[in-house]
Amino acid sequence: MTKTEIEAATREILESFLGEEISAGTSRSNSAAWDSLQHMQIVFALEEKFAVQFTEDEIPTLDSFKAIVGSVIERHES
């Protein structure tokens, strides 16, 4: 997948769970709806979409649009 495709897919997943427009700067700290329950649902959806498996240590760090995209790109490149 290209970076653009990863960004688009990530945006779609975040929008579906958070119910708000997602920008490059969207994060858990500025999204009121990004709670612990939504976070796990987002993580599971990301794993399914991108056929990856995040580690337990990684999951809490996937706390922003940028962090997610970066992590997925890193996974796909390795």
């Binding site: 009121a32 709670d35 612990s36 329950l37 796990m40 337990e56 809490p60």
Partner: protein, 196 residues
């Protein structure tokens, strides 16, 4: 209250707070993360925490638990049920705090409701969240709990005075809550098992 209620989950369990937990409680409540600005400050030393635990253990109608990871036995958070009204079968839950790295939020919430409805036989359980603590307010909304009121100026904290938002779960709504949270708790448990 000195109680013996254990509530076991897939990846996490609730076990009663004991005197030996003073250091853990002190550490987690005094750790400086942005989320902890919405909890009441604690005393500056472990001795005061021990005193608090002693008075808590002597108190009635107040249940405090450590959120413990089953596979490691490690403490990852705290949660409590208190202000029980035995006449109407109602209580408040709160004192909910987890390490930022913990994935125990979803299951610990489910377990506290199990404690309330399956162990304490309550008819309703409510929580009052600092209105400014949007992720936690959102969590209760996401659990499908109705907001039943806003309490003006409920919380007086170092950062200011905040309103409180009250959510309530009735016994009749408990099965739906289980239907929502149990599958998520199982998935998280499976994920944690794979990580080990």
């Amino acid at each position: 209250m000195n109680h013996s209620i254990h509530v076991e989950g897939h990846a996490y369990s609730l076990r009663p707070v004991q005197a030996r937990d003073a250091q853990f409680i002190f550490d987690i409540r005094s750790s400086s993360t942005a989320r902890h600005r919405y909890i009441h400050p604690i005393g500056p030393c472990i001795a005061q925490q021990r005193e608090w635990i002693d008075s808590y253990l002597a108190r009635k109608n107040d249940y405090y638990w450590v959120i413990q990871r089953n596979s490691t036995g490690k403490e990852e958070g705290l949660v409590g049920i208190y202000d029980l009204d035995n006449e109407i079968g109602s209580a408040e839950w709160g004192r909910w705090i987890l390490w930022p790295s913990s994935l125990g939020a979803v299951e610990s919430a489910l377990l506290i409701y199990r404690a309330a409805f399956q162990h304490l036989n309550l008819k309703s359980l409510y929580c009052i969240t600092v209105a400014d603590n949007k992720p936690v307010v959102s969590f209760h909304d996401s659990c499908g709990l109705p907001r039943i009121g806003t309490m003006k100026g409920k919380f007086s904290l170092p950062d200011g005075v905040f309103d409180g938002i009250k959510h309530e779960c009735l016994l009749s709504a408990f099965p739906s809550l289980v239907d929502l949270l149990e599958p998520k708790a199982k998935m998280i448990s499976q994920r944690l098992s794979r990580s080990q």
